[in-house]
């Protein structure tokens, strides 16, 4: 088991800064600029990978075993086969038949089609997406994982893309320059926030669309946005918590770790498991104070995130909260169109339907035991209610469950109106006749999507309301911004809708309180009556 000094991790970046300022001794043991094999020139990303593998002989095998490569994983608790390759989501929907677009975030090159892509060829691995330190290497969104190899000029700036690699043309168009692969290869290093962020910030087709707590605001966040990642805070990178060990990382929302129960040597953390208490312990508050003592008593049933992430989608980047596919396909003069709100966010796209956005969103709270169950393609649904694209396990009565914050994504998605299961659709395909984003025909898009699966499709579709639960775990605020007691211990507080347990300050005891207050009122009434009689009689005696 790989272990790490927790505090060493937190302060390592500060140490690097001060050490380099004081001496010429390098902090790394290898300078990649000195390797002949990395001098290039390289025609493709795969050529760089071949060079990497000449020294990093085992890295290919490691990556091939990881979810970043396979997009395929079995949830040990439910037995469900998950991963991007298999699941449906409440955003663009599904990978199948849309590969070149979706696989722009695959840790490889060329996954155009699952049947033809060679998952066993190590040279298909993309090392640079994660290890580039120049910021100039960004996978192009529609090239199945490849970066640009020649300039592309288009009317809009691609996001994400390095600003220094974009040339603004006199006609207002933007030319996107391909990265210099040799320069990038000579400057590889440990992944920074943007390496992970170039994909994970842009899930669902745009900045913060999907997670709500992962956006470009985390590239250079203020402490308010993320106290761990802020340069004015701990300046941590993603892999300071999600410590890579053999190209495998702890932390998954397919199978959540809400608390770290592993046995840890004093002062160290196990890096194959990740929760807040891996570093902060289960008693992070000052137990010498009354408040701290009582807060420590909360950690068994209240996740750290609940109080310490009061809002998600912070830092000015909104997240999509509603996506109604049923409205998609409307055309004006035979052409697709877009509508925006005052902030310039899409509220309607012919390609995608209606949207709602949220910024600084108060999470939805629920008891969670870390388990997540998916409604997979072919699973029966009840279209009369809201269909959970996933469902979270846990309840107030389950001692293993904690109150946890979520982004609850809502919307409407296509389903088979005869067989009652969700459908997958072919949305992307600029040159095909079936893709919805090209031809705006649900019949064609759904038939093409379903043809790529073993699940039967009746040909009759409807739209069903869906929800999807996204655990909120990033964008931790400074402790000064943590929720106060009254945020929940109040009649109409944040947990007003969370049933199944007694919450002081929120829940009275209806009958007991009524009896108690009535008895008190009767006592007071009796006192008033007694006083009046005393006064009246005493006056009479005085008069008599």
């Amino acid at each position: 088991m790989f272990r790490l000094f927790a505090h060493a991790v937190i302060f390592s970046s500060l140490a690097v800064v001060s050490a380099s300022a004081q001496s010429d001794v390098p902090t790394l043991t290898a300078d990649h600029k000195k390797f002949e094999v990395l001098k290039g020139p390289f025609a493709t990303g795969s050529d760089v990978t071949k060079a990497c593998l000449t020294c990093h002989t085992e890295a290919g095998k490691q990556v091939m075993g990881s979810i970043h490569w396979k997009w395929d994983t079995v949830n040990p608790a439910t037995g469900q086969t998950l991963g991007k390759k298999n699941v449906l989501n409440a955003f663009c929907g599904n990978l199948a038949t849309n590969e070149p677009r979706c696989t722009s975030c695959h840790a490889g090159y060329g996954w155009e089609d699952e049947a033809t892509f060679d998952f066993a060829d190590q040279t298909n691995i993309d090392c640079l997406a994660c290890h580039d330190t120049t910021g100039e290497y960004v996978k192009w969104p529609t090239k199945a994982g490849h970066p640009l190899y020649s300039p592309v000029t288009q009317s809009s700036r691609m996001v994400p893309y390095a600003g220094s690699m974009i040339v603004e043309e006199p006609d207002g168009k933007f030319t996107h320059m391909p990265p210099d692969l040799a320069h990038v290869a000579e400057n590889v290093g440990a992944p920074g926030r943007d390496n992970c962020g170039n994909c994970h910030f842009y899930g669902g087709g745009g900045d913060n669309v999907k997670h709500g707590d992962l956006s470009s605001a985390l590239s250079n966040p203020s402490p308010h946005v993320d106290v761990h990642m802020s340069p004015e805070g701990a300046n941590m990178t993603c892999v300071d918590c999600h410590v890579g060990n053999g190209h495998d990382w702890p932390g998954s929302r397919y199978h959540g770790t809400i608390t770290d129960n592993s046995i840890q040597p004093a002062g160290m953390r196990n890096t194959d498991i990740l929760a807040c208490n891996s570093c902060h312990t289960a008693t992070p508050h000052d137990a010498a104070t009354l408040k701290g003592f009582k807060l420590n008593g909360h950690t068994d049933r209240v996740a750290c995130q609940t109080c310490h992430i009061p809002e998600y989608a912070k830092g000015g980047v909104a997240t999509k909260t509603w996506w109604d596919w049923s409205a998609a396909g409307k055309l004006k003069d035979g052409k697709p169109y877009a509508e925006h709100d005052e902030q310039g966010r899409h509220t309607y796209l012919s390609t995608k339907g209606d949207f709602k956005w949220g910024e600084d969103v108060v999470p939805t709270y629920a008891f969670w035991n870390g388990q997540v169950e998916y409604t997979l393609l072919g699973d029966k649904i009840d279209p009369s209610g809201v269909v959970g694209i996933n469902r979270i396990g846990g309840s107030a009565g389950d001692p293993q469950s904690m109150i946890y914050p979520f982004k609850r994504m809502q919307g409407k998605q296509a389903y088979d109106a005869v067989n009652n299961h969700l459908l997958q659709s072919n949305v992307y395909g600029p040159t095909t006749d079936t893709a919805f984003w090209t031809n705006f025909s649900w019949d064609k898009a759904l038939a093409a999507g379903m043809a790529d699966s073993d699940v039967p499709y009746s040909g009759e579709y409807g739209f069903v309301e869906t929800e999807m639960w996204w655990p909120t775990t990033h964008m931790v605020s400074p402790s000064s911004e943590a929720l106060e007691c009254d945020s929940c211990h109040a009649r109409d507080g944040r947990l007003a809708g969370l049933g199944g347990f007694y919450l002081p300050g929120r829940d009275g005891f209806a009958t007991t309180d009524r009896i108690g207050l009535v008895l008190l009122a009767l006592a007071l009434a009796g006192i008033v009556l007694h006083t009046i009689i005393r006064l009246v009689m005493s006056r009479r005696r005085g008069e008599g």
Partner: protein, 202 residues
């Protein structure tokens, strides 16, 4: 009729105990009502901390008071008796309106009338222990694993009992010869009492 003298019947500690307890109970009732959600306003965290500090102090005070009662023998003032109980109840329900004399005159050995004895004994043996035991259980519920709702309910029931006691007790304190005479005795310690002690068998 025995002579009465104006002498000290409430010792210094007894008065300190009574008034400190009174202050703490009032603080606990107000903060407790806030914590229970009976009214809004002061921050919950502040109410919680004040409640806990006051609770700690009152438990400490009770420990001292229990020690004091046993070492001084003052506990004997709370031995329940039926003797003269009915006349006292009749007095508060009826005689007081007619200006009758109180049927139980305080003596050095019997500071409290039979009704007081019963109610103070109930306070000390039932309400006080109930409220602090359930309070400690409430505070430590995450350590013991007891059901939070049950512990909270017991604490709330004990709190209503305490509130009822306080309301009635404060009013009864106005029923002396003058409205403030009992209050004065509890502050100064001095009271007109029968010094010629009852002889056995009388």
């Amino acid at each position: 009729m025995a002579d009465k003298q104006y002498i000290k019947i409430f010792a210094g500690f007894e008065r300190f105990w009574h008034w400190t307890q009174a202050l703490l109970v009032i603080v606990l009732m107000i903060t407790g009502a806030r914590l229970h959600g009976l009214f809004d306003g002061p921050p919950w965290a502040m109410a919680f901390q004040v409640h806990l500090i006051a609770a700690g102090l009152i438990i400490l005070l009770w420990i001292f008071a229990i020690f004091w009662h046993f070492t001084t023998g003052a506990w004997q003032h709370y031995i329940p008796t039926l003797r003269n109980l009915i006349p006292v109840i009749r007095y508060y329900a009826y005689g007081i309106f007619l200006g009758e004399a109180h049927p139980a005159k305080p003596t050095l050995r019997r500071k409290h009338n039979p009704l007081q004895r019963l109610s103070y004994l109930f306070l000390k043996l039932v309400i006080n222990p109930a409220i602090w035991i359930t309070g400690v259980l409430y505070l430590t519920v995450s350590l013991t694993g007891f059901d939070l709702g049950t512990v909270a309910w017991l604490h709330v029931v004990a709190a209503y009992a305490m509130a009822l006691f306080v309301v009635i007790h404060v009013y009864m304190a106005t029923t002396g010869e003058t409205v403030t005479s009992y209050l004065k005795a509890m502050i100064t310690g001095y009271e007109w009492v029968v010094v010629d002690e009852d002889k056995p068998g009388k």
